[in-house]
Subunit: 174 residues, 2 copies
DNA sequence: GAGATATTGTTTCGGCCATAACAATCTCGG
DNA sequence: CCGAGATTGTTATGGCCGAAACAATATCTC
């Protein structure tokens, strides 16, 4: 793993790992490894970048923004609905809403017909916050994807959607 | 956002959000949004799936496995090197090593020439653990990417690498 | 050599997330 | 009606993560 190409260390590592895996017997799968690695690495770098450059300086977080963005598009919604839209747990929604509520960005409202349920709604401050952060984030995403032309972006998105549509069944069974 | 297509809720939401963004003025960018959304969603689902199906049942975690996998390929290494290979913070490495060390999977060794430095090395149990989990994970990654043929996988990986190579400068400046 | 500076690893703090257990409430079959 | 079962949201508990502050050590400069 020489540094002769002077690429980023994570990409150098990935190339080296792929080579090593190519010399191993199945079930080692160098191509699947490379795909998973670069996918996760890009997602990690993008998340970290958006978080540190846009949301943290404003005193918020990326997960909080994503939740508020959903409320902005969909209007007030129950935690259970927000959880299934994001494919995340209800408790994660509870935690995120707690943080946002402390900041005065969202509020919980009781549901008339159902004593268990709660509806989460943006406050005025939350609506302003999500509009401002959205503009910044859209700009930054544009910078990240600038290396690809329009056709390539579309092709990349299409491939990702194919995998998401055919996603393997979840659950812990083998 | 009707559920007429009966697709997964997260994909339905993404399609709806893209439509809504298409009706907004710049800097709203529906294509960049869709790309970022599907990229992050797929990464999240893949991470969660590998974690819950493979690593948690064995008593470990995916981040722990990724660190051990690096040690497996590279041999003993210093935390600072592991951190830059993963583009993550040194404190995250410290935490991960603490967890792995409690489980007897890695050990810290002093560095003869340098009183500050430490080298992280796999133990025998750690080496066995990483070999077993690697086989499982490679199989599961293969299932995730099965919807794409070989050429499509390669194209997808290539597009991801293009973005990673040209990644925008980090840092908090605007 | 001695002091200023840099590097390494750790600690603290707060937020994110899942799982499991729980209380409150609703629904539905008999 | 009424009790079993399902649903909703919350609360522990524990791991992950970054930023910032810190102590120990190394290096560089004069």
């Amino acid at each position: 793993m020489t540094d002769s190409q002077a690429g980023p260390p994570d990409l150098e590592y990935a190339a080296y790992a792929r080579e090593r895996l190519a010399a191993m017997p199945p079930p080692a799968d160098p191509d699947a490894f490379a795909l998973a690695y670069h996918l996760l690495q890009l997602a990690y770098l993008l998340v970290t970048d958006l978080e540190t450059r846009i949301h943290r300086p404003r005193g918020w977080t990326l997960p909080g923004f994503r939740l508020m963005f959903k409320l902005w598009l969909l209007g007030p919604a129950q935690p259970v609905r927000l959880a299934e839209l994001s494919a995340m747990s209800r408790s994660a929604v509870t935690n995120a809403v707690n943080t946002l509520e402390r900041g005065g960005l969202v509020e919980r409202r009781p549901v008339p017909g159902d004593g268990r349920a709660v509806v989460i709604a943006l406050t005025g401050a939350g609506e302003k916050a999500v509009r401002e952060a959205f503009a910044e984030q859209a700009r930054r995403e544009g910078e990240w994807f600038a290396p690809l032309d329009e056709a390539e972006r579309e092709r990349l998105t299409g491939l990702l959607i194919r995998i998401l549509r055919e996603r393997p069944a979840l659950g812990s069974a083998r």
